[in-house]
Amino acid sequence: MVRLITHNLLACHVKGCTSNNFPLEFKDVQVVLRESEFNPDFLRGFIPKIEWTALVGAARELGDTSLPDQPPEMLDDDFLKTLHHVLLEIHVEEGIMICPNCKHNYAISNGIPNMLLAEHEIG
């Protein structure tokens, strides 16, 4: 269940890795699409929390190029449906997320991101 909405919230937290530690880069991913209920109010409320450039980049890494470089000023239903699909319906089931700074690898297995660190990596 690593959906892009969650990926957009995860940063590398290795001790000392505090800049350029987001967004994590996908590698070797297996993706599954699952429909979910469209809720425009949720999306409108969530847009201010999104790091847009990171979302667009992550979607393109997964082969989805439907999002514009900048969020439009008019949040019409067509746009919100596109955003809904990208944020909530693309599930990364297997793969790796790599920190752009320290290159730490975080594995995704059965849809669960393993963000645990070893003792010496904890800040």
Binding site: M1, I5, T6, A11, D41
Partner: protein
């Protein structure tokens, strides 16, 4: 009356890794139900359930039960329901429990909220924490939590507050301006002292919203909010 989430999908082998909901889970569910209108009125967008070192003595927070219940109050598609747990099996159970109850839960296998701190400053509207609260010997607590196995949830530290104390500063950082943080505690945790420290250190106001005696334990749910 909101029904308790359906956990019939969990098998005996799952309960070797996560605990079956018990009184400390139910008091948290009851506190949420009692606050249902307030929870809806803040139009939450993100919630976070800390499953923590697995669960604890009598609870099994790792099963996704509490977030599923919250989902039945605030709406399955209206909120992003994040659940963290140090135990990967608990994360699997959370996904399954969410599906069983038609709420998409987003488990992250991590300790507390570490990988979310950079992005979710003042952004989480509802935080739920039923920590390992039974007092134990300090060494036993750190050893068990290192094992990341079921013992971890039994080991709350010398006054049952070792894990909770690590998380309280993160709460102060993550909670949104109108956010609500629900914490389960027992009498031995020294609840007035927790409340005083949260006020002095982080300007978080609090009140005990539910109190109950369960067996030999005095359970409480404390609600923390930002000072107006």
């Amino acid at each position: 009356m909101i029904p308790t989430p359906d956990l019939s999908h969990l098998r005996p082998e799952d309960y070797e890794h996560v605990y079956e909901p018990a009184e400390d889970t139910f008091i948290l569910l009851d506190a949420l139900e009692q606050d249902a209108e307030q929870l809806k009125s803040i139009s939450p967008r993100i919630s976070l359930e800390i499953g923590l070192l697995l669960a604890n003595p009598f609870i099994r927070s790792g099963s996704g039960c509490v977030s599923s219940f919250l989902g039945s109050i605030t709406g399955s598609s209206a909120v992003l329901y994040l659940c963290t747990d140090i135990n990967p099996h608990a994360c699997k159970c959370s996904i399954a429990t969410g599906r069983q109850n038609k709420v998409a839960l987003e488990p992250v296998n991590t300790s507390l909220a570490h990988p979310l701190l950079a992005r979710l400053h003042n952004s989480i509207d509802i935080i739920l924490f039923n920590p390992p609260y039974v007092p134990t010997i300090y060494d036993e607590a750190s050893g068990a939590q290192k094992d990341r196995d079921i013992e971890g949830s039994w080991a709350g530290g010398h006054d049952g507050m070792q894990v909770t104390d690590k998380f309280l500063p993160q709460v102060a950082d993550l909670l949104s301006p109108h956010g609500r943080f629900y914490l389960v505690a027992v009498a031995q945790n020294n609840i007035p002292d927790i409340q005083r420290r949260m006020q002095e250190n982080y300007a978080l106001e609090s009140k005990v919203v539910l109190r109950r005696r369960a067996g030999g334990e005095h359970l409480s749910v404390i609600l923390f909010t930002r000072t107006k």
